[in-house]
């Protein structure tokens, strides 16, 4: 054995061991508490949507990869398509028709991700871009969130949910509008949606919050879902998959905005807890905004990026036409990433002035 192999391997020899594939999977696992909470409060629809979206995502990715003549199996196994599908599924209403999920996922994977070059090259968060396409194209279907199961007039089994997604009717023949009726016969919407509608009707915050939709700190069911996502997010932080900068910045800036709002106009704005623990706030802060590909890449930049998202969420919620503004906020922030990165470049070693002497 004179000549050895691996002639041109550059140092370092070895790797930490946590691969991209593993990271994607860990993120997916971390959504499970949130998914479980959604299923618990909003029925089996979420699970059906998750399965639907993930399968569509994998198929769409495989098709494009074969067209691009890239290794299919290896790329699919990186888990990024699966994660995109999952995140989109968690965003759309549980009983949205199946084609909603398919269109959104196909757009996210093919247009937003693969047309830009595949994993690592997309400028926008694929799940959020897909969501925005759906929201703009099918606003009614996309806002048809059922009230929490406990408030439902017609409780639903897994089969009902399945049928509702694929046919629009439950086993007993109820359609979505009928299903949305609550026990006391009022048509229900999401808390944020409801709040916005009532606000337009000039109800004050106190009056609105008397509705059974709202629990003590957020919308019934929504509070728990948010807490579940927070739990998953904290696990990601603990595992070092994401860093604290973005979630803290998103939640912090949104909280500051909410506090300001309460101080200035207490009867026209959401209370703080409602701001943070309703809608998709926690999901966005830990799972959407932290998507590394489309987020800022410097630590300083991540804070700016997160704050931008938090402020935009608040602005869209209060003044925008949509009840929740996370997808728009994230996409707008995505656009700012190159700029943010440019201005938050850290100072390299040896380029600093002498440090101040601290004893």
């Amino acid at each position: 054995m004179s000549l050895l192999t691996n002639m041109f391997v550059s140092s370092p020899h070895g790797n930490l061991g946590l691969t991209t594939n593993q990271m994607m999977r860990i993120v997916a696992y971390a959504t499970l508490p949130g998914l479980a909470a959604q299923i618990y409060f909003f029925g089996w629809g979420s699970l059906i949507q998750a399965i639907l979206c993930i399968s569509t995502a994998l198929i769409a990715e495989a098709v494009v990869l074969s067209l691009r003549e890239k290794p299919i199996r290896r790329t699919l196994s990186d888990g990024s398509a699966m994660l995109t599908g999952l995140l989109l599924a968690l965003s759309i209403p549980p009983l949205a028709p199946w084609w909603i999920a398919v269109i959104g996922t196909v757009f996210a994977i093919i247009v937003v991700k693969q047309l830009y070059g595949g994993m690592g090259f997309n400028l926008f968060n694929p799940a959020m871009a897909g969501y925005v396409v759906l929201l703009i194209s099918f606003p009614v279907a996309m806002t048809n969130w059922l009230p929490p199961t406990e408030l439902l007039q017609h409780p639903m089994a897994f089969g009902d949910a399945f049928l509702a997604v694929f046919t629009g009717f439950t086993y007993d023949g109820y359609n979505l509008t009928q299903l949305k009726m609550s026990v006391d016969g009022i048509t229900m919407a999401t808390p944020l949606d409801h709040f916005k509608t009532e606000q337009i009707l000039n109800y004050t915050t106190t009056e609105i919050l008397n509705s059974p939709l709202y629990g003590e700190y957020g919308g019934t069911g929504w509070l728990e879902v948010n807490l579940a996502f927070l739990l998953g997010g904290l696990a990601l932080l603990k595992l070092g998959i994401i860093r604290w900068h973005i979630p803290v910045a998103v939640i912090g800036s949104l909280g500051v905005c909410a506090l300001l709002g309460i101080t200035i106009a207490p009867d026209q704005t959401y209370p703080l807890s409602f701001s943070l623990l309703s809608g998709a706030t926690m999901f966005a802060a830990f799972f959407i905004a932290t998507d590394p590909v489309s987020a800022s890449t410097t630590n300083q930049g991540r804070i700016v990026y997160g704050c931008f998202i938090g402020v935009m969420i608040y602005i869209i919620r209060i003044w925008g036409g949509y009840p929740d503004g996370i997808a728009f906020a994230v996409l707008l922030a995505n656009m700012c990433v190159p700029l943010i990165d440019h201005y938050t470049k850290p100072v390299t070693y040896g380029h600093k002035r002498r440090r101040e002497a601290k004893s």
């Binding site: 550059s10 040896g350 380029h351």
Partner: protein, 770 residues
């Protein structure tokens, strides 16, 4: 806290600073640091003549020569150069090109030494009194012992021992942050006293006020030994730094100890710091106090594929193969050996590679414990690399730019501040070989810059050459001019020469007159014709040619020379060649008419003029040459006369062209300016009056020329009368002058008359000549 502390004061506070980034890979040091340093001997050694950064020394030995241990095999040359020494006694069996301890596996001139097993030292030359000796002597001694940095870079130590800047602090680097390697660890454990002695020598040489020995906190035994050795030593302190890779990096350790950063592109000496490895310190001590050259070093032979991982004193030049055979190495299916540590070491491509001065570790890892990097995936911008980077770079951005060959961007993102520690690639979840990209990008940029520099040099060379050629040309011209002037001066000083010239001129004139006579005899009958024709010819000739030869004008007839001066006035403005030609033609025509129709009247004047001119020439032959060569054969008066006459003639011709030009406006024209300027230049002795006359004449001439140009077939008597007005003015001006200008007046009258005649049938002449 309020006042700025000096570097030393601050360091003495003992604060350990932090550097950003860094990683904590599995250390795996306990594999090899459990035993004392063993000794290793081998039969055949391959000693590369260059084992340091810089220039190789020149060979001192030949094949077949017997050498003793520590005997110099090469002598250092110019620049960064170190000798190599025989690691043991034996015979030089060969001097060959052999694989070098280099990632590429390139070959280098290598001395092959067959050990005789006696291990006999050459006469040692210790410098026990190093403290009293001149620093240079000690530094030279250390250079002669071949000491280079043993931490990895193998920079010649003597250079760092003679810094050009004031050094406050010496840092002895015993951090050894790379996983697996324990060479410095065991050296500190078992040779702490010698390391401290070395530190004292180095501190003395660089005149550092303080020395700090830095050790990572995972080396408790080494810390204890050094502490013990430092018990009664002043100005050397121990600093225990947290275990984190790459705290042993020079820049990182400077920051850890001082809180300062080495400026980008600089060296620690720029901020008053010198850093040496503990192994180097040991070698310095051995070289100075024991007089032993650097012939062996501690090498960690370790890894999961080695049965007996340990540290060994290995003679430099020992082939890795031999070394591994003695520690129970069993290769993986695909053999994998690393020289250095897992983070910065390189793959050994040939196991005949020798141990050199910078070889601190031979690593034979198992694929399980040190898995090879997987297939590279796309970067997902997770930013873990940036968090790991001790230089606060953005490795993932650099990676994009490196892949896109964006050299400017790479520089903007401080690629050259990358220390290639490998932390980024180590943490990269997408298994991107980041360091490899940076190395390639760095060398690409260096190459591009070198090429650019070369191109610039070539351009500069070309420009300098052009400049030089131009300079030479100018110098040559100047030389020629000077020598010409010298010749002229010599002529002017030499009277006989002047006479000779005058004689020659006279001869030439005579000759010309003869030839003119013969020519004119055939062409015309009267002397008047002859003269007029000669004038016309001369004029035409002069006007056509662009060059005015001074000597020629001197040679030719007075009329011709007169014309030369006029011509000179005309030459500068090449603006109106037509006008000039017309004027010449008109002059010729006038001459003809003069001959035919005014024979009686002109005869006397012409004869008189002719006589005067010839007389003038004759006189000129005897007179000294005047300053202006143009006029050297003419007296001032004669010239004036002739000039005025010609000017009048010319003016008349021009006047024919001018329909409405007022003579008052004429002086503003270039022609007139030039004419007056020329006239004044040609004869400085001329009076102001004369000059004015000449000017007027020139103005008139100009006016006439213009008139001529504008002349058409239908030219009427109005024109004629217009023409007369300036002439009359001229006549008035002339009449005011003394009687010596009488002749000029006559000439003017003649010209006037001629102009009148001309008005009648000048069209033919104009068209003939234009």
């Amino acid at each position: 806290m309020q006042s700025e502390l000096t570097l030393i004061e601050q360091v003495k506070l003992g604060k350990i600073w932090e550097f950003p980034g860094g990683i904590n890979p599995p250390e795996r040091k306990s594999l090899s640091n459990q035993t004392e340093i063993g000794n290793f001997t081998t039969h055949t050694l391959y000693i590369p003549i260059q084992q340091h950064i810089g220039v190789a020394g020149s060979l001192l030995v030949t094949k077949g020569e017997s050498v003793l241990k520590g005997q110099a095999l090469t002598s250092p040359g110019e620049g960064l150069s170190l000798p190599v020494h025989a690691p043991t006694s034996g015979v030089i069996s060969d001097i060959i090109d052999h694989v070098d301890a280099h990632p590429s596996g390139k070959t280098v001139l290598t001395i092959v030494l067959e050990a005789d097993g006696k291990d006999l030292w050459v006469n040692k030359n210790p410098l026990l009194n190093w403290q009293e000796l001149d620093r240079d002597t000690v530094v030279k001694h250390i250079q002669a012992a071949g000491v280079s940095g043993l931490g990895g870079a193998s920079f010649p130590t003597y250079v760092k021992l003679s810094p050009h800047k004031n050094i406050d602090l010496l840092i002895l680097n015993g951090v050894e942050c790379e996983p697996y390697i324990t060479a410095d660890d065991v050296l500190m454990r078992y040779h702490a006293n010698e390391i401290v002695q070395g530190a004292q020598i180095i501190q003395h040489l660089v005149a550092a006020k303080l020395c700090v020995i830095a050790i990572e906190d995972n080396k408790t035994e080494a810390i204890a030994s050094i502490e013990k050795a430092l018990a009664d030593v002043a100005d050397i302190e121990l600093r225990v730094v947290p275990t984190k890779y790459p705290s042993g990096g020079e820049k990182q350790l400077v920051e850890l100890i001082t809180g300062l950063q080495v400026p980008s592109g600089g060296i620690p000496a720029d901020i008053g710091i010198v850093m040496q490895n503990v192994g180097t310190s040991f070698a310095v001590k051995r070289a100075t106090i024991d007089g032993e050259a650097l012939v062996s070093r501690v090498v960690t032979v370790t890894g999961e594929r080695v049965k007996n991982p340990q540290n060994l004193w290995v003679p430099l030049g020992t082939p890795i193969k031999t070394l591994l055979q003695n520690v129970g190495y069993s290769p993986e299916k695909t053999p994998r050996l690393i020289m250095g540590g897992p983070m910065m070491g390189f793959n050994i491509v040939d196991d005949m590679m020798p141990v050199v001065k910078s070889t601190n570790c031979i690593l034979a890892p198992s694929n399980f414990h040190l898995p090879e990097r997987g297939v590279e995936q796309n970067c997902i911008r997770c930013g873990q690399c940036a968090d790991a980077c001790p230089a606060e770079l953005l490795p993932q951005q650099l990676q994009w730019f490196a892949k896109a060959d964006e050299h400017e961007k790479l520089k903007e993102y401080d690629l050259f501040d990358c220390i290639e520690c490998g932390a980024c690639a180590y943490v990269c979840p997408s298994q991107i070989p980041l360091v490899q990209y940076y190395r390639i990008a760095k060398s690409d940029i260096r190459q591009a810059e070198e090429e650019k520099l070369k191109a610039e040099k070539a351009k500069r060379r070309f420009e300098v050459r052009q400049e030089r050629l131009e300079r030479d040309k100018q110098a040559r011209l100047l030389r020629h001019k000077e020598s010409a002037e010298k010749r002229k001066k010599a002529l002017a000083q030499d009277g006989s020469a002047k006479d000779k010239i005058a004689a020659a001129l006279a001869r030439a004139k005579a000759k010309k007159a003869t030839s003119e006579n013969t020519d004119d005899l055939a062409a015309s009958d009267t002397p008047q014709d002859k003269v007029a024709a000669a004038i016309a010819r001369a004029k035409a000739k002069k006007l056509k040619s662009s060059k005015v030869s001074v000597d020629n004008s001197a040679d030719s007839t007075p009329e011709a020379s007169l014309e030369t001066s006029l011509k000179a006035t005309d030459t500068a403005p090449t603006t109106n060649p037509n006008k000039d030609r017309v004027a010449a033609a008109v002059a010729r025509a006038k001459a003809k008419k003069l001959a035919k129709e005014e024979q009686e009247k002109v005869k006397n004047d012409a004869e008189l003029k002719n006589e005067t001119d010839h007389k003038g020439h004759a006189d000129a032959a005897d007179k000294p040459v005047s300053e202006a060569q143009v006029d050297k054969t003419l007296t001032a008066a004669e010239e004036r006369k002739a000039k005025v006459a010609a000017a009048v003639a010319k003016a008349k011709a021009k006047k024919q062209k001018a329909a409405a030009d007022e003579p008052n406006q004429e002086p503003t024209l270039d022609f007139v300016d030039k004419a007056s300027a020329k006239i004044s230049n040609e004869d400085k002795k001329r009076s102001a009056d004369d000059e004015r006359k000449a000017k007027v004449a020139a103005a008139v001439a100009k006016a006439k020329a213009k008139a001529k140009k504008q002349a058409t077939e239908s030219e009427n008597s109005t024109n004629t009368s217009d023409k007369e007005t300036p002439d009359l003015n001229v006549a008035d001006d002339l009449s005011q002058t003394p009687e010596q200008i009488r002749k000029d007046k006559v000439a003017a009258a003649i010209a006037k008359a001629k102009a009148k005649k001309n008005a009648n049938n000048d069209t033919d002449n104009g068209s003939n000549n234009s």
